[in-house]
């Protein structure tokens, strides 16, 4: 049982790191709280190094098959550590400015990261569920973190109520599943399903309804239509860094869980659910991208666009196979880098202006050329234009889907990404073509050193966030033009998931 406990060292250390942050927070004067951010980032970096050195090439299942440390979980562990670091760095200025209790915030981010990495690693329903809840709780708190911001409160209550509701549904699905097959470990479930498929007389509806409810619960986490309606409100109400973390972290984690669950447990019955997931994917990508057109608030727009991207990722689930899984993971990475870039740019903009409507971006290209360029690159990448990550990952994903006989779905996906191009371009147009909005001009008048007709020099974003943004932008281009090394790692992960092809 406990012979290879040390393989969980990163998790334990991460938990203790979070506790340390909580503790140190008590002794730090209010002014120095940002040190906690550096502490957390340093810790994450150390953990990343440790995990990579210690777990490289391991493929072992722990605790009687509750968890696995294999290439797959390692890949996502690393991914989440890096993501957490980026989120913390990107939010330092924001936290300093808007949050009353920063220490707890960083700690909760770390807990969320822990939950995510366990989600990716767990191969058993209960463990996965608990990890999921750990992550969800962290997000409930973070979303409601803007304590005196009514929108933040509202987002929090909506998120936690719907979240609890959906986890109840998920649990009922689990219970039905358990009632039908009597086991909760993925491999055992797979075996049971294979036998169930083998002899049709032992056909048990509870099993399928259970699977459906599980899919609903996870569909809520990834905000797939029709379980998506919380997303725009929550994204808009949540503090910006949290929105970023939510739209990237929770989605990727949920997909990591989903991919593992479907790949290792539900694979035998792919013929039954492939079409369902495909249809879900179709309506998700279409609805998300279409409704995004009507949005006027950046966060909301990005929320809908992320719904659209979830549709694309579901495409990868529907096309579950070696190439499908590879393309899905690649897509998640590319999407994460890109939308973190966009969100970081938005955070930087928010830090200097305190606004996040599309209209407020007017004249950004003149006042903050770098922010504008970075955001434009990110948006182009999201819309799948080449030279950036978006193009490559979409090409890979759609090709993969086509090889699994879903060419029609790929076609729909391309069309909806065409639709998405429209609203992304509207934002780009706002930044590059439209003049600065009225309030900016007024600011300009106030500052006498800036010429009257120039848009306001609305302060400059901090060096830190600009550096992070630059790094992310480079990442976007890198994934776009040289995904080769990334794909090697992903292939290993897929091999661990579905067995070597």
């Amino acid at each position: 049982m406990t012979e290879n406990l040390h393989l969980l060292l990163p998790e334990f250390l991460l938990a203790s790191l979070a506790l340390v942050v909580l503790g140190v927070d008590l002794f730090l004067p209010a002014g120095r709280k940002h040190l906690l951010a550096w502490l957390s980032v340093a810790g994450l970096a150390g953990l990343l190094a440790l995990a990579l050195t210690m777990l490289w090439g391991k493929d072992i299942s722990l605790y009687g098959g509750l968890m696995k440390t294999d290439a797959y979980s390692l890949l996502f562990k690393a991914f989440f550590y890096v993501l957490g670091g980026v989120v913390i760095l990107a939010s330092v200025d924001f936290v300093k400015k808007h949050f009353r209790s920063p220490g707890e915030f960083y700690a909760i981010v770390l807990f969320a990261v822990l939950g995510m990495s366990v989600m990716a690693g767990s191969v058993e329903l209960l463990t996965a569920y608990i990890a999921l809840e750990l992550m969800s709780f962290s997000f409930y708190i973070m979303v409601a973190y803007g304590r005196n911001n009514p929108k933040s409160n509202e987002a929090g209550i909506k998120y936690i109520l719907i979240g609890a509701f959906s986890s109840a549904i998920l649990l009922y699905g689990v219970s039905l599943l358990y009632g039908a097959v009597g086991v909760t470990r993925y491999d055992e479930i797979a075996a049971a399903l294979t036998t169930a498929m083998a002899n049709a007389d032992s056909f048990s509806p509870t099993l399928w309804v259970g699977l459906a409810l599980v899919l609903v619960g996870l569909g809520f986490k990834v905000a797939a239509v029709p379980f998506h309606m919380w997303a725009p409100d929550t994204y808009e109400g949540a503090p910006l860094p949290v929105t970023a973390f939510l739209s990237v972290g929770s989605k990727v984690a949920a997909f990591a869980l989903l991919l593992r669950l479907f790949g290792e447990a539900f694979m035998p019955t792919i013929d039954q659910w492939q079409l369902l997931v495909a249809v879900l994917a179709a309506i998700t990508m279409i609805l998300g991208n279409v409704v995004a057109i009507a949005q006027r608030n950046m966060k909301r727009l990005l929320a809908y666009s992320s719904v659209g991207h979830v549709g694309f990722m579901l495409l990868g689930i529907a096309a579950l196979s070696h190439i499908g899984a590879e393309s899905l993971i690649l897509y998640m990475v590319g999407y994460a880098v890109t939308s973190m870039a966009v969100f970081t740019a938005l955070i930087a903009f928010f830090n200097v202006t305190g606004r996040d409507d599309v209209a407020d971006l007017g004249g950004l290209a003149d006042s903050h050329p770098f922010l504008a360029a970075a955001m434009a690159i990110g948006l182009f990448s999201l819309s799948g234009l080449p030279f950036f990550a978006g193009f490559t990952i979409k090409f890979y994903l759609f090709t993969a889907a086509a090889t699994q006989g879903l060419l029609w779905l790929s076609g729909i996906a391309m069309l909806s990404s065409l639709i998405s191009l429209y609203y992304y371009l509207m934002v780009v147009r706002q930044m590059y073509i439209e003049p600065a909005p009225a309030w900016a001009m007024e600011e300009a008048e106030d500052e006498e050193e800036t010429a009257y007709d120039e848009p306001a020099a609305r302060g400059k974003p901090s060096k830190l966030i600009v550096t992070v943004l630059a790094a992310l932008t480079l990442g976007v281009i890198f994934v776009g033009i040289y995904p080769f090394p990334l794909l090697e790692a992903i292939k290993a992960a897929t091999g661990a998931l579905l067995g070597a092809s």
């Binding site: 080449p386 759609f398 090709t399 391309m414 371009l425 590059y432 080769f484």
Partner: protein
């Protein structure tokens, strides 16, 4: 020299792209340095393309300057493989010329000249990419990369025009152009993926060879029968229409006049001059090379639509009041000729089509350059307002006239050779369509001559008394284009030898022809 040959094509992409990247890091207000750097890059690229074209050995034919780097391993097997044949070589040369002219013409573009040149350079890099790669993935990659900068280029530096009964804002033009072209590329994308899937299905699992996106691979697989007749019949239209959108194929052409009206001069030049050729080139390179059977079956449709293009564009141009609309619709009409030539599947017609791509590229670039100069001077493109300009802007008008005479197929200018070849080819199969094409060319004469008479000749309006010809640099660029038009018109041999080799290669894939 071999090593040069192996990297020459890579350089065509890297020179502009590198220049663009370099420009990113230059201070925004060092406009002179920025312009000089851009011009330098343009000149180098032009020289490079000339050298490449000259070094292409048409006697040998086939793909030359070949080189390849593995980009992704299985399952996708994508290579960054380069090479040009007799069809892409002239296109590369064309791109080099138009790009250089474009840089010169936009010499005093403002504001944000830095951003302009950065985007322009990447646009050109994308165009080169499409012409020199031999892998469907990268062909598509560069194809979209070439579309991407269009939006900001038009949106920022374009011009909105109010035509009384309707308004065309630059935002509208930019948005429509971008969305429309990407919409077309969606069809192409589906087609490409379908090709890959068909190939991998054909090979099956565990086969020694693996499917991929490289053109040669797919060609050989196609010869082995990877693409069934029905598959070809089903998917050729995807390429025909998808690329056709960019080629201005009727009725998918409307982005072109509006886009050109909105676009700044240099962008119109590169766009009408080169990007529209990408479409025709794509049909040839992807559709016809990989799906000959489908192509053969669909060609009657294509030539029919092409003829519609010719007539429709010419007739619409007749009643336009805006210089750029006239030129835009004439582009639609002339691309119709290209499509007709392609669809003849006859060595004469195809050769003429490729030559027409080249000739029209230069010609329309010249058109837009001159229109740009005129617009810069008079701040209007309204034919009814202009008048008698030639009294003050004699040379400019002369250049415009040369472009016009080229477009109406005057012998001694490149347009004539191309058109006659196309008609010769079309006459073999579809003599009635060829007749229509000739009539269309005649109509071209009508609107060009009306335009000249109304806008440039006749008594001059007092307001234009202060005008004079364009600046040295712009006029120099225009003069270069004029020279090329005449040169090709008088002595098309060097171009045609190369084109013939490419066309012969292509047509060898058509058993029926």
């Amino acid at each position: 020299m071999a090593d040069f040959k192996s990297i020459a094509l890579l350089l065509t992409i890297l020179l502009p792209a590198g220049a663009g990247t370099l420009l990113v890091f230059m201070p925004r207000n060092a406009t002179m340095a920025i312009k000089s750097l851009a011009a330098l890059a343009g000149a180098l690229t032009l020289a490079l393309t000339i050298v490449i074209f000259a070094m292409y050995d048409y006697g040998e034919g086939g793909y030359q300057f070949v080189n390849a780097w593995r980009w992704l391993d299985e399952p996708l097997n994508i290579d960054f493989s380069l090479g040009i044949d007799g069809i892409s070589a002239p296109m590369v040369l064309l791109t080099g010329i138009v790009m250089f002219a474009g840089v010169l013409v936009s010499w005093n573009v403002a504001p944000r000249s830095k951003d302009f040149f950065v985007l322009f350079m990447f646009l050109v890099a994308g165009v080169f990419g499409v012409f020199v790669v031999r892998d469907l993935f990268f062909l598509f990659f560069f194809y979209e990369l070439a579309v991407l900068p269009m939006f900001p280029l038009i949106g920022i530096w374009g011009s909105s025009t109010n035509f009384g009964n309707f308004l065309r804002t630059k935002e509208y033009g930019a948005m429509k152009l971008t969305l429309y072209l990407v919409a077309g590329s969606v069809l192409v994308w589906i087609g490409i993926i379908a090709l890959y899937v068909a190939a991998s299905d054909f090979l099956g699992d565990g086969a020694t060879a693996q499917a991929g996106f490289s053109l040669e691979l797919l060609e050989t697989l196609g010869e082995d029968g990877a693409f069934s007749r029905n598959f070809q019949l089903l998917f050729f239209p995807f390429f025909m229409v998808g690329f056709g959108v960019l080629a201005g194929l009727w009725p998918f052409h409307t982005w072109s006049p509006d886009g050109h009206v909105a676009a700044p001069t240099a962008v119109s030049m590169v766009h009408a001059g080169v990007l529209m050729k990408l479409g025709a080139y794509g049909i040839i390179r992807v559709g016809m090379t990989l799906l000959p059977e489908g192509a053969e079956a669909w060609m009657p449709v294509l030539i029919g639509l092409g003829t519609v293009n010719v007539m429709y564009g010419a007739i619409s141009a007749l009643s336009q009041k805006d210089l750029k609309y006239v030129v835009g619709y004439s582009s639609v009409s002339h691309m119709g000729l290209v499509l007709m030539g392609i669809a003849t599947l006859h060595p004469l017609g195809l050769g003429g089509a490729v030559l027409q791509m080249f000739s029209h590229g230069i010609m329309t670039a010249l058109f837009f350059a001159v229109v740009g100069i005129i617009y810069e001077k008079t701040h209007t493109r309204d034919i009814t307002v202009l008048g008698g300009l030639s009294k003050r802007m004699g040379l400019t008008v002369a250049f415009f006239a040369v472009a016009g005479l080229t477009s109406l197929g005057l012998p001694g200018l490149s347009g004539f050779v191309a058109e006659v070849l196309i008609f010769m080819g079309a006459f073999q199969e579809y003599w009635y369509l060829a007749v229509l094409g000739v009539v269309g060319a005649a109509i071209t004469a009508v609107y060009i001559l009306r335009l000249l008479a109304r806008a440039f000749f006749g008594p001059m309006d007092e307001r234009w008394n202060h005008l004079s010809d364009g600046g040295r640099i712009e006029m120099g660029a225009a003069a270069m284009l004029v020279f090329i038009l005449i040169f090709v018109g008088v002595w098309p041999m060097p171009l045609m030898d190369v084109i013939n080799s490419g066309v012969a290669e292509l047509l060898s894939r058509f058993p029926g022809v």
